[in-house]
């Protein structure tokens, strides 16, 4: 049994969970390649004009997997409870994919998370296992193995990041961006690489103790509805004292980010913030100008602070 997983969108958030689960069930995983120009092009062809770059890319990845596997995994996530919603793109993903590719013999494996209708992650994975004709015991075991693996990896990532945060002599830049943007080869990687070329240490907002982050976010905005944005907002609070600058990176025209980033710029004080909005355009001179000048500023600022400390 081959399970196709599009290497886009929620894959970057749940990869350890998904990969371990299917592996434990004895399924083969077919992963679409890192985003390349062809995938972006295919995605744009299938997508609605007005949807965001990330969701266009997602369609490109799904398209790549058609006829290469038995099932394609397309989860649907509506909410994690009252006041805990996600972008409607994730709620619509299943239907959008099923409709867009309806003439192309696509077989979707889906799971549904909708806490307000009592559809929890555990239930969702049980149903998914059943669809694959696995026994109940096997599915439960695979799910808990997957949860354990996810936890282990998260802690490992967190530990690595804590080490980076301790490095005081270098410039540290916090990138606040959804996992599917920052880890994407086409969208986020050029930015990360360019910042590294400018000798910056990258702190990733997506890597944070999630519960703690959400608690912090609540203090900044008690009514913010989007769960994934809450995690990122809280990460700013957790890391802001240890970094030299903050880069907000989102894909055009992301709805939740457009509102949340606006709030961040107004409310987070004391650290230079750069707001980067990425689209399909490929000329990167504009992007480089913004990043280079941003790094110049935080470098100068750090030097001045260091000098003052030396004097006193």
């Amino acid at each position: 049994m081959k399970i196709g997983i599009p290497r886009a969108f929620l894959y970057y958030k749940y990869r350890y969970l998904w990969e371990t689960f299917f592996h434990e069930l004895g399924c083969e995983i077919v992963l679409s390649p890192e985003t390349n120009r062809q995938i972006v092009k295919d995605g744009i062809n299938y997508a609605m004009d007005e949807s965001c770059l990330s969701s266009k890319i997602y369609l490109g990845h799904v398209h790549y997997l058609i006829d290469k596997c038995d099932y394609i995994l397309v989860p649907r996530i509506a909410n994690f409870g009252l006041g805990e919603v996600v972008c409607t793109k994730f709620q619509a993903a299943y239907d959008v994919i099923a409709n867009t590719f309806r003439d192309q013999n696509i077989k979707i494996l889906n799971y549904n998370i909708d806490h307000r209708k009592k559809q929890t992650e555990f239930k969702a994975f049980m149903k998914m296992g059943k669809e694959l004709n696995k026994r109940k015991f096997e599915i439960i075991r695979a799910y808990f193995m997957a949860k354990q693996a996810e936890k282990t990896y998260f802690q490992l990532e967190l530990k690595k990041q804590q080490e980076l945060l301790k490095r005081d002599s270098e410039l540290k830049v916090l990138i606040v961006s959804h996992a599917y943007n920052i880890y994407d080869k086409f969208v986020g990687e050029p930015i990360v690489k360019y910042l590294e070329k400018l000798d910056c240490i990258i702190i990733i907002g997506e890597i944070s103790p999630k519960q703690e982050a959400k608690q912090e976010a609540k203090e900044m905005s008690p009514t913010l509805p989007w769960t994934y944005n809450k995690e990122l907002l809280g990460a700013i609070k957790l890391y802001q004292k240890q970094v030299d600058g903050i880069v907000l990176m989102s894909s055009f025209p992301c709805g939740p980010d457009s509102l949340v980033n606006e709030m961040i710029i107004r409310k987070v004080k004391g650290k230079p913030i750069l707001n980067l909005v990425l689209d399909e355009q490929e000329g990167n001179a504009g992007m480089e100008t913004r990043l280079e000048s941003f790094v110049d500023i935080i470098k100068l600022k750090k030097d001045v602070v260091n000098e003052k400390q030396k004097e006193s």
Binding site: V277, T289, D296, I297, L300
Partner: protein, 320 residues
């Protein structure tokens, strides 16, 4: 022979250059249109500078480039500093106005705000990749009104009642402007309204959340427009300083950076006789199909860029 330093700022619309001595005094200056051809513009710029410059008395030992074509022109001129325009402008402006706290800049396609404390840039913001409310916007609206953009400022000053124009998006602004024209708003009111729209758009977008403190220096091509200057001082209730050389400050800044750089290299003004050519090639080594730009000097490849990975890196053969 005294030492001198060259700064070149190649923007989307105009190309600027200065030569300074060791005291930052401007020895030669030039300003011309880029006309979509940065290589040609730089060549014309260099020959114009060469004419004004006493080559017997001074020797250019450092070159800096800035502006959106800084990389290409940096390669061509063999620059020892290639710096983004935000840093260059901040340095140029603070060299003339050490007290400055806020720099407004509106150029052909970019707009930025730079906040300075004690002579050091502490914060800045730049427009997102959309060019709404920049010089390009004013130029295209001028065309629609049958005016030269240079006539804009004086005409705007004649208005007592600027028309409200939505300037959040250039396309929307254009339809708004057409409607206002058709229902009989006076031309000077519309022009003044456009200047005001540029200012409110700028302050709401680029300037949002920033504490604007005086002294304020306004620069970039749009700072030549007296209507926009007036709109800025109306809204901020502060005096707006515009240097007579405001268009040259980026070039000045990068010339100063070249001066501060330790490495020195003699610059040859004869680039007019050298054939520079760029060629785009598509790297077919992976699905990305990157467009790689190669720069040739008299037929020899001297630099290339645009590849997303090492596969597309083009080796540069040492020229003998």
């Amino acid at each position: 022979m005294k030492k001198a330093y060259l700064g070149v700022d190649v923007g989307s619309i105009s190309t600027k250059g200065v030569i300074i001595d060791k005291n930052n005094k401007i020895l030669a200056e030039a300003y011309l249109w880029t006309e979509g051809n940065p290589i040609g513009a730089v060549k014309r710029l260099i020959s114009e500078l060469a004419n004004q410059f006493e080559q017997k008395k001074y020797k250019v030992v450092g070159v800096g480039t800035t502006g959106s074509a800084r990389k290409l022109t940096g390669t061509i001129l063999g620059a020892n500093v290639v710096k983004n325009e935000i840093t260059a402008h901040a340095i140029g402006t603070t060299s003339l106005y050490p007290e400055v706290r806020t720099i407004f800049e509106i150029g052909g396609q970019d707009s930025k705000i730079i906040i300075i404390e004690d002579g050091i840039v502490v914060d800045y913001a730049m427009n997102t990749l959309c060019a709404a409310g920049t010089g390009a916007f004013l130029t295209s609206q001028a065309r629609r009104l049958g005016l030269e953009v240079e006539e804009f400022g004086p005409l705007a000053l004649q208005s007592n009642n600027p028309t409200n124009i939505a300037a959040r998006c250039t396309v929307f602004a254009e339809s708004d402007l057409v409607h206002k024209m058709q229902i009989g708003h006076r031309r000077e009111d519309i022009v003044a309204g456009l200047c005001k729209a540029v200012v409110t758009n700028y302050l709401n977008n680029v300037g949002k959340g920033k504490k604007i403190k005086s002294p304020i220096v306004f620069q970039g091509g749009v700072s030549k427009n007296i209507g926009v200057i007036k709109a800025f001082s109306d809204v901020t209730k502060e005096e707006i300083i515009v240097d007579p050389n405001s268009h040259l400050l980026g070039a000045l800044g990068v010339a100063i950076l070249a001066k501060n750089k330790k490495s020195e290299k003699d610059f040859d003004f004869d680039i007019n006789e050298i054939e520079f050519e760029t060629r785009g090639v598509e790297c077919k080594k992976c699905a990305n199909n990157c467009e790689i730009i190669c720069v040739f000097k008299d037929g020899y490849l001297i630099d290339s860029w645009g590849n997303r990975c090492e596969n597309g890196a083009i080796k540069i053969k040492e020229q003998s």
